[in-house]
């Protein structure tokens, strides 16, 4: 219970302020801080992915907590788990349904390389059917590792030139 201090009047009260930037930076800034992931949870990695969104690791700190279960609203696909050849068509369709621009994280060794499933049923690395931006090793990877991948994707987005397309 201290004494009340009167807050100083803001200088630009009334919306008189401005700042300068380049449109490219503004677009990249918006994109990288509002990635909406498409959670393609195929097996046990999906549990770690859920932990990543939960309160302890809290993906919302990086603006990527809005998991959407329709690919039409997403721009970051997290392939979490073992992709079988039977599922491959569906995964590719989900990827194609996402609007541009879009990025892909291969989470865990199964989606990165087939992992321990070197057999007839499993795709030996999702890069044979999808363009992958970043691979996260681990079986399953810790949520920190996937958050690190997300930060690296954000760095990658910063360097992109959206107007040059």
């Amino acid at each position: 219970m201290g004494s009340l201090i009167e807050a100083p009047e803001p200088r630009n009260a009334g919306g008189q302020g401005f700042f300068t930037t380049r449109l490219q930076h503004l677009i990249n800034w918006g994109r990288k801080n509002s990635l909406w992931p498409m959670p393609l949870g195929l097996s046990c990695c999906a549990i770690e992915m859920m932990a990543m969104v939960g309160p302890r690791y809290d993906l919302a700190r990086f603006g990527a907590e809005a998991m959407r279960f329709t690919p039409r609203q997403c721009d970051l696909m997290i392939v979490a788990g073992t992709l079988t050849w039977k599922m491959a068509q569906a995964a590719r369709t989900v990827y194609d349904q996402m609007p541009e621009p879009k990025w892909v994280i291969a989470m865990g060794v199964c989606s990165s390389s087939g992992g321990m499933y070197k057999n007839y049923a499993v795709v030996q690395g999702i890069d044979s059917i999808l363009p992958v931006d970043i691979y996260v090793p681990g079986c399953p990877p810790r949520p920190d590792a996937v958050i690190d991948a997300l930060l690296k994707i954000q760095k990658k987005i910063e360097k992109e030139r959206p107007l040059a397309r």
Partner: protein
């Protein structure tokens, strides 16, 4: 659940008297339950007795196959039956060869065996006569080969073939004829 050996012996005796009328049937004392061997031609007859007889094996808990490759006949189809009333198990085995891999379906006795038989067909290529819907269940439609056969290569025979065919069809220009859609998943 461990059953003492003398109890298994008693159960096997009981089974022997039950299937005494079936030609070619034999009962063996397994390590955990009695095992009944039936010839393929008398399989349904024997299973009918087990289900409707005094022991009432009304639950088909398991159905699978074993590929005993150098032996002839090659495949062994195994049924795990459970009697809920008597808390008792029995394992039933029958054999079929590679070139006439056909076994009568037990879906008429236990409707729950439907998917088990489909899986068995998918993995071993054993066909079940009179099965209502004998399709692959785990592998995609059109897959080549039967993965759990001993001669099947572990890494598959062109595992990505079906995907590549789908991809090629997708790359083709869409059909313009009226009423034709772009497929099941339209992008």
């Amino acid at each position: 659940m461990r059953i003492p050996p003398d109890q298994i012996r008693n159960q096997a005796e009981e089974l022997r008297s039950l299937v005494a009328g079936i030609e070619g049937a034999s009962v063996e004392e397994g390590i955990d339950m009695p095992v009944l061997h039936l010839p393929r031609e008398r399989l349904l007859e024997g299973l009918q007795i087990l289900r409707d007889g005094p022991l009432a094996f009304r639950h088909c808990s398991m159905l699978t196959a074993v590929d005993r490759m150098p032996e002839e006949p090659r495949f062994e189809v195994v049924y795990g039956l459970y009697s809920i009333e008597h808390n008792r198990w029995v394992r039933v085995k029958t054999r079929c060869g590679e070139f006439d891999a056909v076994v009568p379906s037990v879906t008429g006795l236990w409707p729950g065996a439907n998917w088990l038989e489909r899986e068995c067909y998918d993995m071993f290529g054993i066909r079940f006569a009179d099965h209502p819907d004998l399709r692959r269940i785990l592998m995609p439609e059109g897959y080549e080969g039967f993965p759990l056969r001993k001669e099947f290569p572990r890494e598959g025979i062109e595992p990505g073939r079906l995907y590549r065919e789908w991809e090629r069809r997708r790359q083709e220009p869409p059909a313009t004829a009226a009423g034709e859609s772009a497929g099941r998943y339209e992008v």
